[in-house]
């Protein structure tokens, strides 16, 4: 399993945890295209915070490295890297590869 697949698996585990809080109609689909945040709608703020904080914790457990995702300025910015599940995954991969914030524009 390559890095991208491992990160996607971690994000899907986080989605499972967050879905346990949500009524069936609001549950997140485990696909790259699932919208998380942006002009065309997305999650309410508490759900987004829960998801990002959960992903952060699980990434640290899986890879043994802390990745700073829950940065307030980033969470609710129009150009947030958390627009979709796919974009979030790409951003986590960048951070794990040590390219981090400098490469943020690539996933926006």
């Amino acid at each position: 399993m390559d890095l991208q697949e491992r990160v996607a698996a971690v994000i899907y585990r986080a989605i499972d945890q967050v879905n346990a809080q949500l009524p069936p109609a609001d549950r997140l689909e485990k696909t790259r295209d699932t919208v998380l945040f942006g002009r065309e709608g997305g999650l309410d703020s508490l759900t987004l915070v829960n998801l990002i904080v959960t992903v952060e914790g699980l990434v640290e457990k899986e890879f043994g490295r802390a990745v700073p995702l829950s940065i307030a300025e980033m969470l609710f910015e129009p150009d947030s890297p958390f627009s979709s599940v796919g974009a979030l995954g790409e951003y986590v991969v960048l951070l794990l590869e040590g390219r981090g914030a400098k490469s943020l524009s690539k996933v926006r």
Binding site: Q17, A20, Q21, L22, P23, L46, V49, V53, S70, A72
Partner: protein, 572 residues
């Protein structure tokens, strides 16, 4: 169980807790409303949301919010204990007022919302150690709230322990004002759901246990009782003994124990009697089936003997095969997954969330003893042969008491737990029952049953309401433990004698069928109580007496005092 409405009051974000509570699949279903964020005192003083009274409320506050002086003391050691306690008292006053409008209130105890900091050396040192102050606050909270019968203080530290060493999540706090990790909220939901089931009579009452490798280590039929692993200087033996101790402690809360084991009965019972480290003795078990038969069949048989329903049962067995068999054959029985390692048994038992009850009565602590007495009665019946002769030999005595402060807990238990001999299956919480009894034309009596073989405690409840010149029986319930001992007839005698004594024309009992109360209908049909309106309304003309059974002594006719004569109030 119907969906319950909850009101959540907090000074921090309870959104995650609220979502877990609503999405949890265990009964009862809950719909939450949250009071405006951070406005605890205002919400406590105005608890009605949408003009609707919630079924229950959770008031989960932080010590920093309730007592600004505590927060200052913790940060700057600036303040004093008296001021902190005065702030706690003010909070409790608001809670007390709130509890007049909400039937059931849970108050989690206080822990700091932020990681405790400061000196560990000085934390517990008087006068201003932060940890010591928090203990003082929680103690004051407990002392103040213990005076209110419908509020329950819940120990948050139990939930904090379930969060893998990280009960607080600073990121959730700073981003969303959620102080605790989600595991803490999940643990809280599990406990509160368990309490809600207990309040509605849904607590499990009987734990059925396997023996080999469950209550002790080893196969007694192979190794003999002398070689069992139980107690002693042996990690596994100590764990089995601790597991037995935890089970025995549960009997003090009214939970019954039974044995379902594939063994030779004589060998297994010898082990129970003779093993010196055996904590549980024969008299700790309400009954057993120790044979080579199918365990599911044995469970049905034993539960029937104990007059309980399968939905009252928890079955604990180390064998995955036996668990799967019982789970498949008897879906009403709770069959928890059970750890393979006996050292985890006490914890697995503690984690079962199905035994909560709002009060422990004297009857609860004697319940197992009552079943042991019942075994003696059955043995006596075998010897004597005739049921009438047996009943007379028992010297049954029924004492009738008006429901009042001293017996209301037990009356409420009977109301909410009894299924079989239950006329209307009316379920009420403490305040609803108290409100109902406060009516001028309503009376409720408890029936305390004893005989020469033992005391069964309060086992029956009768509630009557006058409607015009008719005594309507609202509640007529009898614990299955004393069914068939003429207490049923004694209760009818009391109902009719009461109606006659206050000049009522007739006594009416409307049977409301449920999946479980067919025994009640069968009794009324054979008791000579004429039915009207089809088969379910039973009417007795109060001009005729209903005799007290010969086998029963009922010394004091308390129901004849302070009654409500038809049409006018004689109560003081």
């Amino acid at each position: 169980m119907q969906q319950l409405s909850a009101l959540l009051v907090s000074d921090f974000n309870l959104g995650n807790f609220s979502r877990y509570l609503e999405q949890d699949s265990d009964v009862p279903a809950v719909a939450c409303k949250s009071a405006p964020f951070g406005q605890v005192i205002s919400a406590l003083l105005n608890p009605l949301i949408d003009e609707r009274r919630p079924d229950f409320a959770v008031i989960w506050s932080s010590p920093e919010h309730v007592s600004p002086t505590y927060a200052r003391c913790r940060d700057n050691r600036d303040g004093d204990l008296d001021t902190i306690l005065a702030e706690v008292d003010a909070f409790c006053t608001a809670v007390t007022k709130f509890c007049l409008d909400v039937d059931l209130v849970f108050v989690p105890s206080w822990v700091p919302v932020l990681e405790p900091s400061g000196s560990i050396l000085l934390g517990m040192r008087a006068p201003l150690g932060a940890s010591l102050l928090l203990l003082e606050m929680n103690l004051r909270l407990a002392r103040n709230l213990e005076k209110i019968s419908n509020v329950y203080l819940l120990d948050v530290t139990r939930w904090m322990g379930s969060a893998d060493g990280r009960p607080r999540n600073p990121k959730l706090w700073y981003l969303a004002k959620v102080p605790f990790a989600n595991e803490v909220f999940l643990a809280a939901v599990r406990d509160i759901k368990s309490c809600l089931r207990g309040f509605r009579g849904g607590a499990r009452k009987l734990i059925l246990l396997d023996l080999d490798d469950t209550l002790w280590g080893g196969l007694v039929g192979d190794v003999g009782w002398e070689k069992l692993r139980l107690g002693g200087h042996d990690p596994a033996g100590e764990a089995y003994a601790d597991f037995q101790r935890a089970l025995r402690a549960m009997t003090q809360r009214g939970i019954l124990l039974g044995i379902i084991s594939k063994n030779e009965s004589a060998i297994a019972l010898e082990a129970i009697d003779r093993h010196p480290e055996m904590v549980l003795k024969q008299q700790d078990f309400a009954g057993w089936r120790i044979n080579r038969e199918d365990k599911a069949r044995n469970i049905i048989d034993l539960v029937h003997d104990l007059n309980l329903g399968l939905d009252a049962v928890v079955f604990i067995d180390d064998s995955p095969v036996e668990r799967a068999r019982v789970r498949e054959a008897l879906p009403e029985v709770l069959v928890p997954e059970w750890p393979a390692d006996c050292m985890l048994y006490p914890r697995a038992l503690a984690e079962l969330k199905c035994f909560e009850t709002p009060a422990v009565t004297a009857e609860d602590t004697m319940r197992t003893l009552m079943y042991v007495s019942e075994r003696s009665r059955a043995a006596l019946l075998d010897r004597i042969g005739s049921v009438d002769a047996w009943l007379k030999s028992l010297e049954i005595r029924v004492d009738v008491e008006e429901v009042a402060e001293g017996n209301a807990d037990r009356a409420l238990q009977i109301l909410n737990r009894t299924n079989q001999m239950n006329l209307a299956t009316r379920r009420l919480n403490e305040m609803e029952f108290k409100d109902w009894r406060a009516g001028r034309t309503r009376r409720s009596w408890c029936f305390r049953v004893s005989d020469r073989l033992g005391d069964s405690g309060i086992a029956g409840l009768l509630s009557i309401e006058h409607v015009d010149e008719v005594a309507e029986i609202r509640d007529w319930l009898l614990s299955c433990r004393v069914m068939g001992r003429k207490v049923e007839e004694t209760m009818l005698h009391v109902a009719i004698d009461y109606a006659r004594s206050v000049g009522l024309r007739e006594v009416r009992a409307k049977y409301e069928p449920t999946a479980k109360n067919a025994p009640c209908l069968a009794f009324l049909q054979r008791a000579g109580f004429p039915a009207r309106d089809g088969e379910h309304t039973f009417v007795w003309n109060a001009e005729r007496e209903y005799p007290l059974p010969e086998a029963v002594a009922c010394p004091k006719a308390v129901w004849r005092t302070a009654g409500v004569r038809a049409g006018r109030d004689r109560r003081t």
